[in-house]
C-alpha cells in the first residue's frame, strides 16, 4: 500500500471531534468535546496551540483566517486564526449547531442546528442571515455548493434536502436516510459534500454506500461501495481536485475512490477501529487528516500519489510539487507565527521534515548517513540508464514516503530541486526559565531568586511574583494590563516587557522594589516599531535587546545608559553582577543546527567585552534551551538535547560540557527544565517534566537536583572516575579566581577545601598509578600537584616501592642495579635515603640527592631518554666517589626527616651554612652599629640579642635567592621545617628566653640540626650561661603517621632497647671522626654553632688579652679568624665536646628521635605485611599528616 497510515495520537478528550486544514495546509485544526480547538503544526506536534472556545465544540470550519466553531452554548462563534482571539458570535440557535461549513470563497457560513433550522450567514456582516426551515428533526450536516446557489442538508428525519439559497425553498428532497430522534441516536453523521470546482456532484453517505447525485437533474448518478465497509459511512470528503472521494465509516474504515473510475483505490483501517467522525483533505491533496470519537487524530500520508497511473500520474506529481513548494514557503515564511519558540519540539521544525526521515526523533545520524548511501547505490546501479533528472528526483521527496515510487512512476518528470544542506529556521528569542508564551498559565521566569507566573485566562490577566527567599521581598500580585510576556527577576527588581501592538509601543516596566524612595517602578516606551525581544537584570542595571538589533542598557532606577548594536537577532540574554551575556544569531544554521554567537560583556567600572561574538557550541540539530549564569557567575548554557555547557575561563573561554540531563531521564519524552546552576555546591537545579519539555504551573513543580558529570572516558573505571572528579573540581572552582580577580570577596575556606579535594584526588590517582607501576604517569601526576603534596607523593611512592619490591631493598647488587632503575625510582630511593638517620651514609646520600636533583630537572625538560643517559653519565661519574659503591644507600629505612637534601643543595648551589654562620657575626655587628647610630645602647639588656636575631632573619629572608624551583620541589619537607619564622618564639622556649635573654641567633640552624636529631648544645657557651632556647620542631609528620598507623606500644615496649640504640647512636656519631675532612665539614654544617662557640668561649680570654680594647663583636670576629686557622682535627674535637655538653633534656629529645627511628623500622616490617592496594586509604593517610 503506497498510502501510509501514521499512528494515531491523542488530541482531545473522549467524544465527538472534527478536523480541518487551514487554507495553506500548514496546520491541522481539530476540535473536541473538551471545548478546545487545537492547532497542530504536524502530527508529531508535542505542543499544539490550544484555544478554548467553549464547553463543547461540535464542528469547526476554517477559511481566510476565520475559525468558525459550533459551540455548546448554542452559538456559532468566530475566532481569528491562528491567534485564536474571539471575533464575535456569528449566529445563535435555540439549541446547539451540529455542523458548520464555509462556502468555497469563505464569504458565507452555513450551520445546521438541532432545532431543525439551517442558517446561512455572511461572515462579514452577521446580520445578513438566511434561515431555511423545513426539516422535521435535528439537522445533521450542511453543505454549500461551489456557486453559492444551493445548500444541501441532511437531517435526522431521514431526508437529504437541497435548498435554493436565494429563495430559501426546497429544490429537491430524498428520503434515503434512517430516521432517528436526535443526533446522538443517529446512525451516521451523514456529512454531505459537494464536488469542488465543478460542483457537479453531491456525495451523500447512505448506509454502507456513498451515493452521488447530479446537480442539474437532482438524480442519483452512481453509488460507491466497497466490500470492506461493514458499518455505516459517517463522513465523506472530496479531494481538492475533485477526482477522488474519501469516506470514513463508523467501523473505522477509511476508503478513497476514484470517482470517475468508481474504483476504490485506497482502503485503510483505523488502528483501533474507532468511529471516524471527522475527515479533511489537505489542500494539496497529499494527505488526509481524520479524527475519531475517542478524541484521537490520525493522518494518511501520500494519498493521491498512490492513484493508478492512468488517471492520476499528472495529478499526483502536481500535488507533490505543490506540496514541495508549500514546504519551501514554510521555510522562509518568517512572518508567519510558525517561528520556533520555546516549546518547539524537534519534529515540529518545518525544516527537518524534508531533511530527516519521518521517525527523526530516533536517531539523528540515520538520515545523514542514509541519504548519501541511497544516492550512491542509485548511481552505481543505474549510472548510465537514468537521466540526470531522475537522479535528482531521488533525493527530493523523502518527506511523504513516496520517494521509492516517484522515480519509477515518472522518470520523465524532472524538476530543478536544490538538494544541499537546508537552512534552519532561526530559533525565536526567549527568556531563560520561561514556558511558552501561548500557554494560559505559564512561568514567565523561574530563576534562583524566585518565580514569576503569568495568568491569562477568562477571569484574570495577572502576574504573580514569588520569591524563594521571603527575606528579599514578599510575594506580589500584579494585574497585567499591558500584556507583558517577558519577565526577569533579581534581588532588586522585577523587569517586565511587552511587545508593541498597532496602537501601543513596546513597553518595559521595572518594579524596583529595593528602591528607597517612594517611586518603586518606572515604565519606558520603546520607539515605534521597535519591540523588546529579550531582557535581563544585573546588579544595578537592566538590559533589553530589541527587534532593531539593539541592546539598550538602563540603570535599575530607569536612567538610560549605553546602547549598542548586535550583529544578529537576539536569542537570549542573561545578567549576573556586572556581567551581561548575550546570545544572538550569528548567521544561518544548516541542517537543523543553529548558528549562535556569544557576547560576554563586563559592565561596571572596568567595561570590556570578554567574549567577542564567538560561536556558541551546541549539540547537533539542537537549539538553545536555557542560558544564564551559575550562582557564582560563570556563564552556562543548555541546549535542547539536554547538554549543559559551562564556560571554562582557564582555557581561553571555551565551553565544557558538564552534564547531560537526558542521561537522567527515564523515558525519551521526559525532560529536565533547568532553573539554576550552582558551582558550590555542585548542583544543577531543575524540574523533572514527564512527557514534556516544561512543567505546568499546577501542581506546583518540585525542584530536583542533578549532579554534574563531565563526559570523560571510561568513567566506570577508578581511574576515569578520579580524572573526571579532578577536572570537574578544577572547572567548578575556576570561579574563585574569577571572583577574586573581579574584586569580590571569596570564601577562602571553600577554596582551600577545593584545593585540598583536588590534591587528594591527584594523590589517589598517584597511588593508583603507583600500584599499576606506571611510573611515567606518576611523574606526570606529580607535575600537577602542589609542592607540599609532591613530597607526600614522593614519600608514598618510596614506601610503596619499598614494600612492593622487597627484594630490591637488598642493594647488594649495588650500583649496577641502581643505574638501571628509572629516574623516578631513583628519586624514590633517594627520598628514602633522605629519611635515613645514619650519618655515615649521609654524605653519600647527599651526593645521590644532588644527582637526583639533576635528573629531576632533566625530566622536567620532557626529554626522558636524553635525561636518562645524562643521569647515567652523572651516576657513572659519581660512582668513583669513595665509599659510594659500598653503598648501603638504603639500609634500614628510617624515615625521620633529615636535612640531608637541604644540605646537599646548599652546599652546591647556595650560600653554605658555614658561610652563613661565619658571616653572621659581621652582620650582627652591622646591626649593632645601626642600633648605636639610632642612639640605642646595644649592650642594654633588651637589645642584647637583637643584632643576632636580625642577622639571622636577614639570612633567612635572603636565603632563597640561589634556590631553584626544582630544588624546592624536592626539598619541601626540609624547607617546610626550616622555614619557620625565626621571630616566632615557641611555647616551650618562651620562659627561658624571656628570662635569660639568650641570643637566639641559632633558631634556623637549630631546627636544622634538630631535624637531624643532633641536639645542639649551646649551653654554657654564652655569657648568660643559660641553656639555649631550642625551637621544638614542628611535629615530624612521619613519626606521627607511624603513631597513627602502627601500634603505639612499640615505643613503650622498646624503652629498654632505647638504651642500646642510644649507645649505638653514640658510636655512629663517633664514626665521622674517621672520615675525611670533607665529611667533617659536612657535620660542621649541621652543628656549626656548637663547636665554634665552645672554642670561642675558651679562647675569648686570650683574644681579649691580646686586644683588650675589643668589643664583643670584634672578639667574635677575631675568634672566627682564629678558629678557621685551626686544623680540621681540632675543630672536630670542639664539635665533639659540644656534643657531649648537651643537657639531659635534649638527650631525651634525641631519645625520642631514636624511638621514632625504632618505630619507623617497626613500621617498615609491619607495612610489609599490609596489602597496599587500598589507594584511597593511603592517600587518606597522607593527608592526615597535614
Amino acid at each position: 500500500m503506497p498510502c501510509e497510515r501514521k499512528p494515531m495520537r491523542y488530541g482531545h478528550s473522549e467524544g465527538h471531534t472534527d478536523v480541518c486544514f487551514d487554507d495553506k495546509g500548514k496546520c491541522i485544526v481539530t476540535c473536541g468535546s473538551d471545548g478546545d480547538v487545537r492547532i497542530w503544526e504536524s502530527l508529531d506536534d508535542d505542543d499544539p496551540k490550544s484555544i478554548n472556545v467553549g464547553e463543547k465544540v461540535y464542528s469547526v470550519a476554517l477559511k481566510n483566517g476565520k475559525l468558525v466553531t459550533a459551540v455548546s452554548n448554542n452559538t456559532v462563534q468566530i475566532h481569528t486564526f491562528p491567534e485564536g482571539d474571539p471575533d464575535g458570535i456569528l449566529t445563535r440557535f435555540t439549541t446547539n449547531a451540529n455542523h458548520v461549513t464555509f462556502n468555497s470563497s469563505g464569504s458565507r457560513v452555513a450551520a445546521g442546528s438541532s432545532d431543525f433550522i439551517v442558517k446561512i450567514v455572511e461572515v462579514v456582516d452577521s446580520s445578513q442571515q438566511k434561515t431555511l426551515r423545513g426539516h422535521d428533526a435535528p439537522v445533521l450536516s450542511v453543505a454549500l455548493d461551489t456557486s453559492d446557489e444551493f445548500l444541501a442538508s441532511s437531517s435526522c428525519d431521514g431526508s437529504v434536502t437541497v435548498w435554493s439559497i436565494e429563495s430559501q425553498t426546497q429544490v429537491a428532497q430524498w428520503k434515503i436516510l434512517q430516521k432517528s430522534s436526535d443526533v446522538s441516536n443517529a446512525k451516521s453523521l451523514c456529512r454531505l459534500a459537494w464536488q469542488p470546482h465543478s460542483g457537479k456532484l453531491l456525495a451523500v453517505p447512505v448506509d454502507l454506500t456513498v451515493q452521488l447525485y447530479d446537480r442539474n437533474t437532482w438524480t442519483h448518478v452512481s453509488t460507491l461501495c466497497d466490500d470492506l465497509i461493514t458499518q455505516v459511512v459517517n463522513v465523506v470528503v472530496w479531494s481538492p481536485c475533485g477526482k477522488f472521494l474519501a469516506a470514513g465509516t463508523v467501523g473505522g474504515n477509511l476508503l478513497i475512490w476514484d470517482v470517475e473510475a468508481k474504483l476504490c483505490i485506497e482502503r485503510q483501517k483505523h488502528e483501533k477501529g474507532f468511529t471516524v467522525c471527522g475527515m479533511a483533505w489537505h489542500p494539496s491533496g497529499g494527505r488526509i487528516a481524520y479524527t475519531d470519537t475517542e478524541g484521537c487524530l490520525g493522518l494518511l500520508e501520500g494519498v493521491s500519489s498512490s492513484s493508478p497511473p492512468s488517471s492520476s500520474t499528472v495529478q499526483s506529481t502536481k500535488a507533490t510539487a505543490a506540496k514541495e513548494k508549500n514546504d519551501y514557503d514554510d521555510l522562509f515564511d518568517e512572518d508567519d507565527d510558525r517561528m520556533l519558540d520555546e516549546g518547539m519540539s524537534d519534529s515540529r521544525s518545518p525544516v527537518k521534515k524534508p531533511i530527516m526521515e519521518e521517525d527523526d526523533d530516533d536517531d539523528d545520524l540515520m538520515p545523514a548517513t542514509g541519504k548519501p548511501r541511497n544516492r550512491g547505490s542509485f548511481l552505481d546501479d543505474d549510472d548510465n540508464s537514468q537521466d540526470p533528472g531522475s537522479v535528482k528526483l531521488d533525493g527530493v521527496p523523502e518527506e511523504d514516503g513516496s520517494s521509492a515510487i516517484l522515480p519509477a512512476v515518472g522518470p520523465a518528470v524532472s524538476r530543478p530541486v536544490y538538494e544541499g544542506p537546508m537552512p534552519t529556521q532561526p530559533q525565536r528569542a526567549f527568556q531563560a526559565g520561561s514556558t511558552p508564551v501561548h500557554l494560559m498559565h505559564r512561568f514567565m521566569v523561574w530563576n534562583s531568586v524566585g518565580i514569576v507566573r503569568g495568568y491569562n485566562d477568562d477571569q484574570d490577566n495577572a502576574i504573580d511574583v514569588e520569591f524563594h527567599d521571603t527575606a528579599i521581598h514578599h510575594a506580589m500580585h500584579l494585574t497585567n494590563t499591558l500584556g507583558h510576556t517577558m519577565a526577569d527577576l533579581s534581588q532588586e527588581a522585577v523587569l517586565l516587557a511587552c511587545e508593541g501592538t498597532d496602537e501601543l509601543a513596546s513597553k518595559i516596566q521595572c518594579l524596583h522594589f529595593s528602591c528607597w524612595d517612594t517611586h518603586k517602578d518606572w515604565i519606558v516606551d520603546l520607539p515605534k516599531g521597535e519591540d523588546v525581544c529579550a531582557l535581563c537584570l544585573g546588579q544595578g542595571w537592566a538590559a533589553v535587546a530589541t527587534s532593531a538589533l539593539m541592546v539598550r542598557l538602563f540603570s535599575i532606577g530607569g536612567v538610560q545608559k549605553e546602547i549598542f548594536s548586535l550583529p544578529g537577532a537576539v536569542v537570549c540574554m542573561a545578567g549576573h553582577g556586572e556581567q551581561l551575556l548575550i546570545m544572538y544569531h550569528r548567521g544561518t544554521g544548516f541542517d537543523g543546527d543553529q548558528a549562535l554567537g556569544v557576547q560576554l560583556l563586563q559592565l561596571g567600572s572596568k567595561r570590556r567585552q570578554v567574549i567577542h561574538g564567538e560561536p556558541l557550541p551546541l549539540s547537533r540539530k539542537s537549539y538553545l534551551a536555557w542560558m544564564g549564569f551559575t550562582a557564582e557567575g560563570t556563564p552556562c548554557c543548555i541546549d535542547s538535547e539536554g547538554v549543559v555547557r559551562m564556560l571554562n575561563r582557564t582555557v581561553g573561554n571555551t565551553w565544557t560540557p558538564v552534564c547531560n540531563t537526558r542521561d537522567s531521564c527515564k523515558s525519551k519524552s521526559d525532560h529536565y527544565w533547568v532553573v539554576g546552576v550552582h558551582e558550590n555546591p555542585q548542583q544543577l537545579r531543575c524540574i523533572p517534566c514527564k512527557g514534556s519539555r516544561f512543567p505546568p504551573t499546577l501542581p506546583r513543580p518540585a525542584v530536583a537536583v542533578l549532579p554534574f558529570n563531565l563526559p570523560y572516558c571510561q568513567t566506570t573505571t577508578e581511574k576515569g572516575q578520579m580524572e573526571e572528579q579532578y577536572w570537574r573540581s578544577m572547572l567548578f572552582h575556576n570561579h574563585y579566581s574569577f571572583l577574586s580577580s573581579s574584586g569580590y570577596e571569596i570564601d577562602s575556606e571553600g577554596q582551600s577545601q577545593a584545593e585540598k579535594e583536588q590534591q587528594e584526588l591527584l594523590m589517589k590517582m598517584f597511588a593508583l598509578s603507583c600500584k599499576l607501576e606506571r611510573e611515567f604517569r606518576c611523574v606526570e601526576l606529580a607535575e600537577m600537584m602542589t609542592h607540599s603534596v609532591v613530597t607526600l607523593a614522593i614519600r608514598y611512592a618510596s614506601r610503596s616501592r619499598l614494600f612492593k619490591d622487597k627484594e630490591m631493598d637488598v642493594i647488594k647488587q649495588g650500583m649496577g642495579r641502581f643505574r638501571t632503575l628509572s629516574a623516578e625510582e631513583r628519586l624514590n630511593w633517594t627520598e628514602r635515603a633522605k629519611g635515613d638517620s645514619d650519618p655515615k651514609k649521609r654524605k653519600r646520600e647527599d651526593e645521590g640527592q644532588a644527582i637526583m636533583e639533576r635528573s629531576k630537572q632533566k625530566q622536567m625538560n620532557q626529554n626522558e631518554n636524553e635525561a636518562d643517559s645524562a643521569i647515567n653519565g652523572k651516576f657513572d661519574g659519581r660512582v668513583k666517589i669513595p665509599g659510594w659503591s659500598a653503598g648501603g644507600a638504603a639500609g634500614t629505612p628510617s624515615t625521620a626527616p633529615s636535612s640531608s637534601v637541604m644540605e646537599s643543595w646548599r652546599e652546591e648551589r647556595t650560600r653554605s651554612l658555614e658561610d652563613n654562620e661565619m658571616s653572621l657575626p659581621s652582620i650582627a655587628a652591622a646591626y649593632t652599629t645601626i642600633l648605636r647610630g639610632l642612639g640605642e645602647d646595644p649592650q642594654r639588656q633588651g637589645l642584647l640579642k637583637t643584632p643576632w636575631r636580625a642577622a639571622t632573619a636577614m639570612q633567612f629572608f635572603t636565603k632563597g635567592y640561589q634556590e631553584k624551583i626544582i630544588e624546592l620541589c624536592l626539598c619541601v619537607t626540609v624547607s617546610r621545617e626550616v622555614r619557620v619564622n625565626p621571630f616566632k618564639v615557641s611555647g616551650a622556649g618562651k620562659p627561658s628566653s624571656s628570662s635569660a635573654g639568650q641570643p637566639r641567633t641559632t633558631s634556623v640552624l637549630d631546627s636544622m640540626t634538630m631535624s637531624s636529631r643532633k641536639p645542639t648544645p649551646l649551653g654554657g657557651t654564652s655569657k648568660q650561661g643559660k641553656a639555649p632556647v631550642l625551637k621544638p620542631l614542628a611535629p615530624k609528620p612521619k613519626s606521627k603517621t607511624q603513631a597513627t598507623l602502627l601500634q603505639m606500644s612499640a615505643s613503650k615496649g622498646n624503652s629498654k632497647k632505647l638504651v642500646d640504640s642510644q649507645t649505638e647512636a653514640e658510636k655512629v656519631k663517633a664514626a665521622p671522626a674517621a672520615t675525611p675532612p670533607a665529611s667533617v665539614e659536612n657535620i660542621e654544617n649541621r652543628k656549626p654553632k656548637t663547636g665554634f662557640q665552645l672554642w670561642l668561649e675558651d679562647n675569648r680570654k686570650s683574644i681579649l688579652a691580646d686586644n683588650p680594647d675589643f668589643e664583643e663583636m670584634d672578639v667574635i670576629k677575631q675568634g672566627m679568624g682564629r678558629f678557621r686557622t685551626l686544623s680540621a682535627e681540632e675543630r672536630l674535637n670542639w664539635t665533639e665536646r659540644a656534643k657531649g655538653d648537651s643537657d639531659p633534656k635534649k638527650r631525651k629529645r634525641e631519645d625520642e628521635g631514636q624511638v621514632n627511628d625504632q618505630m619507623e623500622s617497626d613500621e617498615g616490617s609491619a607495612k610489609k605485611k599490609k596489602p597496599l592496594d587500598t589507594s584511597a586509604k593511603l592517600s587518606a593517610f597522607a593527608f592526615n599528616k597535614e
Binding site: F467, D469, T470, A471, R685, R700, A702, V703, A704, V705
Partner: protein, 182 residues
C-alpha cells in the same frame, strides 16, 4: 505509651520541605540539618518541618506515599487480605494527621487523603480487634501479627493486656481451691 508519645516518635521521621529562607547547616544532637537554600528541597524531621511551616518559613513536600492513587491501592489491598499489608511508612497515621492538620495547603487532595488514611486505619484496627477476639475465644497461647505499626499496637495493647489479666483472674477464681484468698 500513650498516643502523644507515639506521635513524638513519629516526629523524628524525615520529610522534605522547601524553605523560603537561607540558613547554613545547623548542628543538632540528632544530626546535622541543612543547609537551607530558598527554593531547594531539603530533608528535615517532621517536628522541624511543622515548626517552620507554622512560622510560614517553608512549604512541606508530602511524602511519596501520601498520594491518593497509592493509598487507594493500599486500601484495596488491605480490604482484600486477611493479614496486615505492609504500610509505606511505620508512622503513616501520625504523619498523615500531623501533615494534614498543619500543612493541608501543601498537600494536593488533602481531604481525599485524610479519608483514605482513615479508611486504612479503620480496616486495620478492625482486623486487629477481630484477631484479638479470635485469639481470646480460641484460647490461643500466642499469636503473630506482622506489619503492625506502633500506633496500632498501642491502641490495643493496654486494653488487651488488661482484659487478659482480668480473664485470667476470673478463670483462676472459677477453679476450686484457688478462691480461698477471697
Amino acid at each position: 505509651m500513650d498516643p502523644a508519645e507515639v506521635e513524638f516518635l513519629a516526629e523524628k521521621e524525615m520529610v522534605k520541605i522547601i524553605p523560603n529562607f537561607s540558613l547554613d547547616k545547623i548542628y543538632l544532637i540528632g544530626g546535622d540539618l541543612g543547609p537551607f537554600n530558598p527554593g531547594l528541597p531539603v530533608e528535615v524531621p517532621v517536628w522541624l518541618a511543622l515548626n517552620l511551616k507554622q512560622r510560614q518559613k517553608c512549604r512541606i513536600v508530602p511524602p511519596e506515599w501520601m498520594d491518593t492513587d497509592k493509598l487507594e491501592e493500599i486500601r484495596e489491598q488491605e480490604r482484600k487480605l486477611d493479614t496486615f499489608t505492609p504500610i509505606p511508612s511505620p508512622y503513616y497515621m501520625e504523619l498523615a494527621k500531623l501533615l494534614l492538620n498543619h500543612s493541608a495547603d501543601n498537600i494536593p487532595k488533602a481531604d481525599e487523603i485524610r479519608t483514605l488514611v482513615k479508611d486504612i486505619w479503620d480496616t486495620r484496627v478492625a482486623k486487629l480487634r477481630l484477631s484479638a477476639d479470635s485469639f481470646i475465644s480460641q484460647q490461643e497461647a500466642h499469636a503473630q501479627l506482622d506489619n503492625l505499626t506502633l500506633m496500632e499496637i498501642n491502641t490495643t495493647r493496654s486494653f488487651l493486656l488488661d482484659s487478659l489479666n482480668y480473664m485470667y483472674k476470673l478463670r483462676s477464681n472459677l477453679q476450686p481451691g484457688r478462691s480461698q484468698d477471697y
